[in-house]
């Protein structure tokens, strides 16, 4: 989300933990070419750390045996990879057709006011980040919000208020 042009360095070396390491080794056997592991490895990294750092890009490239630029290219092309840390709760609001028709704007406006951030930003305490995203494939239960990957359907301000209270 937001600026996708820069990689951030943590200054610490990166490597997969035991669980991700095992999963990486399981998956790599499934592909005839190692570069197919670029997307899965980026996912494993994001699951582990919540985002993808400069060190992680270098590690993935090294692990697969490819150029870091190829990994970076995918990390920037695909919008779900985060190149900097998100809030503890990353809130995605669908902005596309069916959600738009069912007033997704009321959801965005409410979140903007309650959390005090614009879409594309993170709250100062690091608790929330907000993003407007393209169609989430839950059009029959619009409007829909996804928080840390979990879907919340048929949202309205009342439901959202209860949900935020839970998270707070």
């Amino acid at each position: 989300m937001s600026d996708r042009s820069q990689l951030i360095s943590t200054g610490e070396p990166f490597k997969f933990d035991q669980e991700r390491d095992t999963e990486f080794e399981r998956l790599i056997k499934r592909y005839p070419e190692r570069e197919s592991m670029i997307l899965p490895a980026l996912w494993l990294t994001q699951e582990q750390e919540g985002w993808i750092s400069a060190e992680a890009i270098a590690y993935i490239a090294d692990r697969i045996g490819t150029f870091a630029s190829k990994v970076f290219e995918c990390a920037t092309f695909y919008t779900m990879y985060h190149l900097h840390p998100m809030g503890k709760y990353h809130i995605c609001v669908c902005r596309t057709l069916s959600c738009w028709l069912r007033d997704k704007q009321a959801i965005v406006d409410y979140l903007r006011d309650e959390i005090g951030i614009e879409p594309g930003q993170k709250s100062e305490d690091g608790k929330f980040s907000l993003e407007e995203v393209e169609c989430l494939g839950h059009c029959g239960t619009a409007p829909v919000v996804q928080i840390n990957g979990e879907f919340h359907e048929e949202m309205d301000v009342e439901k959202l208020t209860a949900l935020l209270a839970e998270l707070n």
Partner: protein
Amino acid sequence: MEVKILSAKFDIEDGHKLEIAKQHGAYATIDKLFSMKPEEVIEEVRNSGLRGRGGAGFPAGVKWGFLPKGTGKPVYLAVNSDESEPATFKDRYILVKDPHMMIEGIIICSYAIGSHDTYIYIRGEYTSQVKALQAAIDEAYEAGYLGDKVAGHDFKLEVTVHRGAGAYVCGEETGLLESIEGKKGQPRAKPPFPAVAGLYGCPTIINNVQSIASLPFILEKGAEAYKVYGTEKSSGTHLFGISGHVEKPGMYELPLGLPLLEVVEKVAGGVWKGRKLKGVIPGGSSTPVLTPEEAKTVTLDYESMAEHKTMFGSGGIVVLDETVDMVKLVENLIYFYHHESCGQCTPCREGLGWMLKIIKKVVRGEGEISDIDLLSELCDNIEMKTVCVLSAACTMPVRSYLTKFRHEFDAYVSEGASTAEANQE
């Protein structure tokens, strides 16, 4: 009006679990499958008239027939579960509620086309769905339906789930293949078609989830039983997703060929809040809009949609009530397609951006009549001048709104900022 072929097991408690699914007939066709020759399976599917359920509606059996013989290369099956066309939300029901029906379909298809490796490409946003799917695949491996000997037969089959990460364009066949290969999802020029040179340069068949999931029924009951549903040229049933301004939005399985307005009325509860109908998008956001008058005569099948100069698409029906501002709807559409352009072809990358700037200017009340004409002209100059159809997925619907609701665009121009303001209230 509803029928339960694909959705037969959707309401069964724990129907996604292998044990329960088997009690209700899952994997019942496997022994029959291996008693047949692959060509006989292809023939049965071709006779059923099953057409690709991803949006293009290409006959599935015919597609399989394009595979070259004796290349010495492996044949791959890629199952398209990207489901990224706005207003489309059908396949995920299969993934979550009856994944074993799809896995059985994968076995059937793989045997027919002689493939031993399947990749299921699922969109990254489907987080809980990917877990459900992987759990079902693990169960199928455990029970011996996948692996070195499928159900004890001399046939090896590996199934791997590959997650996308947020890119509409990866629903395009070759964008999908690029993504599996670990690249940006930029579609390839065709020919060669994937059946000849697809994944890793090898012959590859790409089928939508719903197409694959339709196979067990066809194999078990036969092509004739499938053709009982639908019309002569559009046979079978389809999972329709109805969204927008209806009382009861949702996913409904219906035979093809039903009158659209009757479905909106009787199945989806009609236009919500007692309002009047303004338009219907018949098959996902890229299909040209129908006016209420046009909607009166259209039926839910490939032929009728084509006769009405629109497309059946993905079965994602969007109902628009009388309050919808078509100019702003078009802004929402162009924003989406511009955002999702992969950037490979200049007409799409630059053209959709230009269209977005113009429509924003019109929405602000600063547009001129020449801007509306320019939008129209841009549509003509972008469409079919790119590697894939993403740009056309934007220009085709935009042109339909510009033509059928031109007065709304003109009103934004003639009344200037006042229209824009009034619309904001």
